[in-house]
């Protein structure tokens, strides 16, 4: 008889130094992606102690919460939000538009959650921050007017930029070679299609250089991330269903995307939140390129002498745990010197574009971006590099007087292989 394996009694969760015989969320049997009711017994574990406001024991205890640092009042920090959720769900406080606005004035970057040392909050607060947005939508307090507007455009024109769907592929140069029957699709996403076209071009050219058989589907539409992130779950689900059906019917088995938001939505939200087990293998470009570097297919022909710093997009970093791949690729580029910002990886300061804040809270969004740009400049880097066209676009819009350059990783790679 096989000897029963002894259960490990001490577990560690990300953060610092938490160990215990049984994780607290196991006691509560907590799961991800549930509604507020599911978490009702844990909101009040928060004592608004303020640990969520700064990097815990690292990065000189720097501030991490754009929402709190901008909003200032306690309600804008995670502790405040936790206790507002408690108050609202236990009828100590009433829902109002102003309450909803507090929850929407947050990019849901989850840097605060990384710092919290209460296991239930550390692991699940992101779920109730999103559930609060869902609740706001149900009660008619959300989304914010600008978010409603872009959602309308997404439903009609498949993009949030008020652009025509028929113009979606205007970025595509004639020299890009596609393979009509390829089972690999490059999912371009709305930002690269309409705003940061060089990311789309660079990605397609890299794939061509690597002789990858791929195609871009003509009727690709918004992945639904901006809709989901503003609590409009049913609408986002509807978009997901359409996308999945379209890609599956086209025979797509693999997707590469250069957008962090699209990646997270396809890879995590579609199957885990919406329950659509689409079976398509989704990779973010740096992950894919790292595998090509490892097997020797990606070779950098040219040197690119440049000091750069890397900005972790929230959607692939904290939300999906991808920190190494982009750095490994970046550091392999000959001539590139990577200098980290003080707040990096899971402690990275958000660029302030996600979660619907750039459309609805412009001043706050710019505040977050400028803080990150300032931090990037302090490294003495010439450029801030990211792996998300939305972050890139945010930086470009907020960089003043060419104080620093901003690139997507794909743009740098393109310079060295073509």
């Amino acid at each position: 008889m096989a000897k029963k394996k002894r259960e490990k009694k001490v577990k560690y969760i990300r953060g610092h130094g938490i160990s215990q015989a049984r994780l607290s969320y196991e006691i509560h049997n907590l799961k991800r992606y549930q509604n507020l009711e599911h978490y009702k017994d844990v909101f009040y574990q928060c004592g608004k102690c303020g640990t969520c406001r700064t990097v815990y024991k690292d990065a000189y205890w720097s501030c991490v919460c754009p929402s709190g640092e901008f909003g200032k009042f306690e309600s804008y920090y995670l502790g405040g939000k936790n206790l507002l959720v408690w108050a609202l769900t236990s009828n100590k406080l009433n829902w109002t538009k102003k309450v909803a606005k507090i929850f929407y004035q947050c990019s849901v970057c989850m840097a605060c959650i990384e710092q919290c040392q209460i296991p239930e909050i550390h692991s699940f607060a992101g779920e109730w921050l999103m559930a609060m947005r869902e609740e706001a939508v149900k009660l008619g307090y959300g989304p914010m007017p600008e978010q409603q507007l872009y959602t309308k455009n997404i439903m009609e024109e498949k993009n949030p930029y008020m652009e025509k769907h028929e113009d979606r592929l205007k970025w595509l140069p004639s020299h890009i070679k596609q393979t009509p029957d390829a089972n690999l699709a490059y999912f371009v996403g709305c930002t690269s299609s309409y705003r940061e076209k060089t990311v789309a071009i660079a990605t397609a050219e890299i794939l061509n250089t690597l002789n990858i058989d791929f195609r871009i589907l003509n009727d690709e539409g918004c992945c639904g991330s901006p809709v989901y992130m503003t609590g409009q779950v049913e609408k986002a689900k509807n978009l997901a269903e359409k996308n999945i059906n379209y890609f599956k019917n086209a025979g797509i088995e693999n997707i590469i995307t250069s957008c962090a938001g699209c990646y997270r939505t396809w890879k995590d939200i579609y199957p885990n939140k919406f329950g659509f087990d689409h079976g398509i293998d989704v990779k973010h470009l740096p992950e894919f390129l790292r595998s090509k570097l490892k097997n020797g297919e990606l070779i950098f022909d040219k040197e690119l002498k440049m000091k750069v710093t890397y900005h972790d997009p929230c959607h692939i970093g904290r939300h999906m745990g991808i920190y190494k791949a982009p750095r490994e690729v970046l550091e392999k580029i000959p001539g590139i010197e990577l200098i980290e910002m003080v707040r990096n990886r899971h402690n990275a300061w958000c660029c302030g574009s996600g979660g619907g804040v750039r459309s609805s809270f412009k001043e706050f969004s710019a505040f977050a971006a400028k803080e990150r740009i300032k931090e990037a400049k302090e490294t003495t880097a010439e450029a801030i590099v990211s792996c998300c066209p939305f972050c890139l676009n945010q930086f470009k819009n907020n960089i003043e007087n060419n104080e620093i350059q901003a690139f997507d990783l794909s743009e740098l790679i393109r310079k060295t292989i073509l």
């Binding site: 004592g47 102690c49 700064t54 306690e74 507002l84 100590k92 406080l93 239930e120």
Partner: protein, 475 residues
């Protein structure tokens, strides 16, 4: 006078963005969200950006005779930042700078709203050879409130209580006047409180009821190159405490010396109160877990100190593990326990936190232990030897579920029973005391002393607007 009119005046001082009476913002300031004490009421919250703005706010509060409550993070186990009589909560978080570090005299001049995270971060970045004493409270809590309320730090053995770390203060009085106390009152140096009359005492231990501190100088200490952190285990507190007492008087470079009981050690490990050992003594678990930190300038000195510590502990049958042996639980500072209030997984925690004579610690523990066990709660206790062993802090924590009214009721009973019982030991005095404990001390203090306290309060806060309902002075 409506809130709107007052707010209009306050907006002129700080700008529209930093003042509010909206419930979704004031809600977070009406209660500490940790203790079993009653909730309060916050009518207006304001976030000033300078001492001058604080002065103007106090003047407006005086004009309308509205209570005013200084606030940094608003949590402590005594609920003393809960606005008991409504009014304006002055959130000091924008006053969060380190203004100066004097490396020669080893002090930092800090603003009233700076947190432990802010101070530590600044020192780590710009003055890595210096360190501040650090509390066990979370990094988001305030430095100055901790000093003013006799908080204790991991340098307590060499520096005493937080109050003794204070070199000087800048304060906005209840009248709106701005004053300075200590050497800074007549020079640009903030090195100490001597030799003029020590007016810092007008603000220490008063729970924010005499003024709002906008700046303070606090002592810093050199980071010595050699350091060892020991964890010691003894079967009982009765057996272990005498060993610590001996160590405190042995002059072995010890900067921190404390013990926790088994219950407390379970709470800080994030365990669930319902799944833990309730009576460690009965269960034959080591009920005395001590932390001993020693530091030295030279290796030779360090080795000698460590050897002496080991000898004393061996003699007292205290088993030692050291951080350099790789003991996970013992790490260099800061050790900050973010959530020991959450032992019940219910987010509630309160204490009987007392200063007392070293003679009474063991008795204190045994009294509090019996009371906790009577109510089925795991006894949680911790004690820190202070200022070379001149006095001691003794604390009994009780955790509870904030959503369970019965648990809250039981917690109140336990706390009050412990408080009443340990008073019989005489020298036991609570710090950061909640209202019911303050009442006890008011009754106990000599009438002439009480009269003096009340006169001082009247002079500093003529309209009784400063954190009314809290502190020892008469309302």
């Amino acid at each position: 006078m409506s809130n709107n009119e007052i707010i209009s005046e306050l907006e002129i001082v700080v700008g529209e963005r930093y003042v509010s009476d909206q419930p979704e913002l004031t809600y977070l300031y009406h209660y500490d969200f940790i203790t079993a004490e009653p909730e309060g009421r916050c009518d207006i919250v304001i976030i000033p950006g300078s001492a001058e703005e604080v002065q103007e706010i106090v003047k407006i509060a005086n004009k309308y005779k509205i209570p005013i409550v200084p606030w940094v993070t608003g949590i402590n186990f005594g609920s003393i930042a809960t606005p008991r009589k409504g009014g304006i909560v002055v959130d000091l978080r924008r006053l969060n700078r380190v203004l100066e570090v004097n490396e020669d005299d080893m002090y930092a001049v800090i603003e009233g709203g700076i947190t432990w995270a802010g101070l530590q971060g600044f020192l780590e970045k710009y003055h890595p050879n210096l360190r501040a004493g650090i509390t066990w409270s979370p990094p988001g809590t305030g430095v100055i409130p901790s000093c003013l309320c006799y908080g204790m730090f991991d340098l307590g053995m060499i520096g005493g209580s937080g109050a003794e770390f204070i070199n000087g203060l800048e304060v906005v009085l209840g009248s709106g006047d701005l004053i300075k106390v200590g050497s800074c009152s007549l020079s640009n140096y903030w090195y100490g409180r001597q030799p003029l009359p020590d007016l810092a005492g007008l603000f220490i231990g008063w729970e924010g009821s005499t003024g709002i501190v906008t700046k303070a100088s606090i002592k810093l200490w050199p980071k010595l190159p050699f350091r060892e952190d020991y964890t010691g285990f003894a079967r009982t507190v009765d057996q272990g405490f005498p060993v610590l007492l001996k160590l405190s008087k042995a002059g072995l470079g010890i900067c921190d010396l404390l013990l926790v009981n088994f219950g407390w050690s379970q709470s800080i490990q994030e365990l669930y109160e319902k799944n833990v050992v309730i009576d460690a003594v009965k269960d034959k678990k080591p009920d005395c877990i001590s932390l001993i930190t020693t530091q030295a300038y030279t290796e030779k000195q360090h080795i000698a100190q460590c050897e002496a510590i080991i000898d004393i502990c061996n003699e007292g049958k205290m088993r030692l593990l050291s951080a350099s042996d790789g003991v996970e639980g013992v790490k260099p500072p800061p050790v900050q326990y973010w959530n020991f209030w959450n032992f019940t997984r219910g987010g509630g925690g309160q204490w009987i936190g007392s200063y007392c004579s070293t003679r009474d610690v063991v008795k204190y523990y045994n009294i509090s232990r019996e009371i906790c066990l009577k109510y089925g709660k795991p006894p949680q206790f911790y004690s820190r030897l202070m200022f070379g062993g001149h006095y001691v802090v003794a604390r009994s924590n009780v955790n509870f579920n904030k959503n369970d009214p019965e648990d809250i009721k039981t917690t109140r009973k336990i706390l009050q029973e412990i408080h009443e019982a340990v008073q019989k030991l005489d020298g036991v005095v609570m710090y950061k005391p909640p209202l019911w404990a303050v009442k006890y001390y008011k009754d106990k203090t000599l009438p002439s002393t009480t009269r003096l306290i009340n006169k001082i309060k009247k002079v500093l806060d003529p309209n009784n607007i400063m954190n009314p309902g809290q502190g020892i002075g008469e309302d």
